[in-house]
């Protein structure tokens, strides 16, 4: 498939010192659902605003559907945006809000009202159409904003934290609705979010940003299972990290000496060699507590003391301390109501284990 958005070496600085986006290049294929993920200040919103045309890059080019739009104002770009606080016009009804762009840009009346009818039907807001935005609930406003952005049939839909002002339940529901909408319309969606769950659940591809640069670009699964840095591993989900040097390489398994622990880990095709400074990441749900006396063949086994048991409802997180003093987390699924009773108590000595195939290894870049 063809790239619909191409960002080439884009840099954006605010004021004298703040580099919001630092030489970023990326491309988005037609029909893809891409999320730009990262903490506040990582540059994700600035990228979106540059694609929309509200900011212009200091360096680099932005190409939309083969056309260089770097110097084209937002009102001439073939895309639409759903704003963070929806940005519905308070002095217009929902109908007028949705039809606004069509009316002002001179689309014939009949055609415009047909388009408004269709899009309102699609987001199920037909019965609210003559009301002003402040009378609508958060979810309805969100759908109205979506309708307004879709009514002009844009090539690309930009979404700036579209769910962040909604409460948790509604957010979960709208995630699914947005995902469905993307599938039905086949449009290209680019969404900015700081919520990792949102990014993982909704997107085909996640671009994780750090300090104005792309930290990792991949499918949700790649990002979660194979983080390429400690930053990514820590940002997405929770992780246990072992930092050390490679002491042995054996096919696709590397052995790492991390203080007093020897950890065997997946080599990740890094082409690592002995002496490399690396980190190994193991997710808490992929580690396990070994039964007393179990041999744990093929696993990395370590002894630890239970510090804390954190009840999460569906799992219980065991926070344990390794001999080295580092904290190690293990998530134990609570499949039956009794699972909890069989768990070790606070202070108990346990053995934790994890398989090398479940780990991810990446070069250590300090800190």
């Amino acid at each position: 498939m063809e790239a619909i958005i191409q960002i080439e070496g884009v840099t954006k600085t605010f004021g004298a010192k703040v580099v919001a986006v630092n030489d970023v290049s990326l491309s988005v294929k037609e029909g893809e659902f891409v999320t730009l993920l990262g903490p506040s200040g990582c540059g994700k919103t600035t990228i979106l605003r540059m694609v929309a045309g509200f900011e212009s890059p200091d360096h680099g080019r932005i190409i939309l559907g083969g056309e260089d739009v770097t110097d084209i104002p937002p009102y001439h770009r073939p895309l639409n945006m759903v704003f963070q606080d929806f940005a519905l016009f308070p002095h217009m009804t929902i109908d007028e809000n949705v039809g606004y762009g069509l009316k002002v840009t001179g689309v014939p009346q009949a055609e415009a009202s047909q388009a408004v009818d269709d899009v309102l039907k699609m987001v199920e807001l037909t019965d609210q159409r003559s009301r002003r935005p402040h009378l609508l609930s958060g979810g309805q406003r969100q759908r109205a904003a979506l309708a307004r952005a879709l009514v002009r049939k844009p090539k690309v839909l930009l979404l700036d934290e579209p769910l962040s002002s909604l409460d948790a339940n509604l957010r979960a529901q709208l995630r699914v609705e947005l995902k469905h909408l993307h599938e039905i319309l086949g449009l290209t969606f680019v969404m900015v979010t700081h919520d990792q769950t949102e990014a993982l659940v909704m997107a085909d591809r996640v671009i994780l940003m750090q300090d104005g640069r792309i930290a990792q670009d991949g499918t949700p699964k790649e990002i979660y299972e194979h983080p390429n840095s400690a930053y990514v591993a820590n940002f997405i989900g929770t992780t246990n990290l072992f930092h050390g040097r490679i002491s042995a390489v054996n096919d696709d398994i590397v052995t790492i000496s991390s203080g007093q622990h020897e950890v065997r880990a997946a080599a990740n095709g890094l082409g690592s060699s002995i002496g490399d400074d690396v980190a190994v990441c193991i997710r808490p749900e992929k580690a396990q507590i070994l039964e007393p006396g179990a041999d744990g063949i093929g696993l990395n086994v370590m002894t630890a003391a239970v510090d804390e048991l954190l009840y999460h409802g569906n799992t219980i997180r065991v926070q344990a301390r390794l001999a080295s003093g580092a904290t190690f987390l293990v998530d134990v699924p609570l499949k039956t109501p009794d699972t909890q009773d069989t768990l070790p108590q606070k202070g108990a000595q346990i053995a934790v284990g994890f398989a090398p195939v479940n780990t991810a290894t990446f070069p250590w870049e300090g800190s």
């Binding site: 606080d85 002095h91 606004y100 402040h134 307004r148």
Partner: protein
């Protein structure tokens, strides 16, 4: 004592001083003025009565109703001119100046003249526009005029100019506030929907700033229509306004009943304008964001 009773007492206790002040210095004078407006003039005093002769005289005598119209005309022009100057300036400050420091400095530049004596500010224009004033000297120096012109002073033009200068901060402040309150992403949303800057201003920014426009124009109109210093300093016979007529009725003419009737009419006019603008604002009041 019950807590709710105590709260009530506290509330009225706190309000008592301002209430007393309002009652003694505003409410009672208005009642006196209202009563006087029905009295009979009996030079050099007046006798209590209840008759509408004073009001009838105002509506019958062109000398009076014309001055009311002229005051309204001048105040209306002042409000309009002030709007035409203040709106672009406020817009420029809010949307075009990025540094909040410079914005504050420019904003203060408009507000600071309010700290200077009102009389002085009106008088300044006399020295600018007068026969031997700065404007005439400049035009002669520049060779545009050969001798001083007295076209600049003592007419409606000088009145409107001076009053606009004096009251423009009252137009600017509410417009500035209204513009500042408009979320920036609304204009962005408009542009995102394919609407250019001019139409965006026309269909988003302007409607959303209307409450400020109405408030600013109302302030300026009411303040300008009751002014009596500018007419004396720069107005001349052509710029005589309602407040000057009232002053003379209470002073030289010694006709308090007629002066009171004029005052009551102006009070009604101003109150209706304020309440109309209030209604208008409330109807257009919008929940932003």
């Amino acid at each position: 004592m019950k807590l709710s009773t105590r709260r009530k007492l506290e509330k009225y206790g706190l309000l008592s001083a301002p209430l007393l002040w309002t009652f003694v210095f505003l409410f009672i004078p208005y009642i006196l003025l209202f009563t006087y407006s029905f009295y009979l003039k009996n030079f050099p005093t007046f006798t209590p009565a209840f008759q509408f002769g004073n009001y009838a005289q105002i509506f019958a005598d062109p000398q009076y109703y014309q001055v009311i119209f002229r005051s309204a005309w001048i105040a209306g022009s002042v409000a309009l001119l002030a709007l035409c100057l203040a709106y672009p300036f406020a817009y420029f400050l809010v949307f075009k100046i990025r540094s909040s420091r410079i914005r504050m400095i420019l904003y203060m530049a408009v507000i600071v003249p309010l700290w200077v004596s009102y009389l002085l500010r009106a008088y300044t224009w006399k020295t600018i526009l007068g026969n031997e004033g700065i404007l005439n000297s400049f035009l002669i120096w520049a060779g545009i005029l050969s001798e001083p012109s007295d076209l600049f002073l003592y007419n409606k033009f000088s009145m409107i100019l001076t009053l606009t200068y004096i009251f423009i901060p009252f137009t600017m402040m509410p417009i500035y506030t209204a513009l500042e309150k408009i979320p920036r992403n609304l204009t962005e949303a408009s542009k995102d929907l394919g609407v250019g800057p001019f139409k965006t201003f026309w269909s988003v920014t302007l409607p959303l700033s209307m409450p400020g426009v109405i408030a600013g124009m109302t302030f300026t109109f009411c303040l300008a229509s009751g002014d009596f210093v500018a007419p004396i300093l720069v107005g001349g016979p052509d710029g005589f306004m309602i407040a000057n007529v009232m002053t003379s009725q209470f002073g030289a003419a010694l006709n308090w009943p007629l002066g009171s009737a004029l005052a009551m009419i102006m009070l009604v006019v101003v109150l209706s304008i304020i309440s109309a603008s209030d209604n208008f604002q409330r109807a257009g009041k919008l929940e932003l964001g």
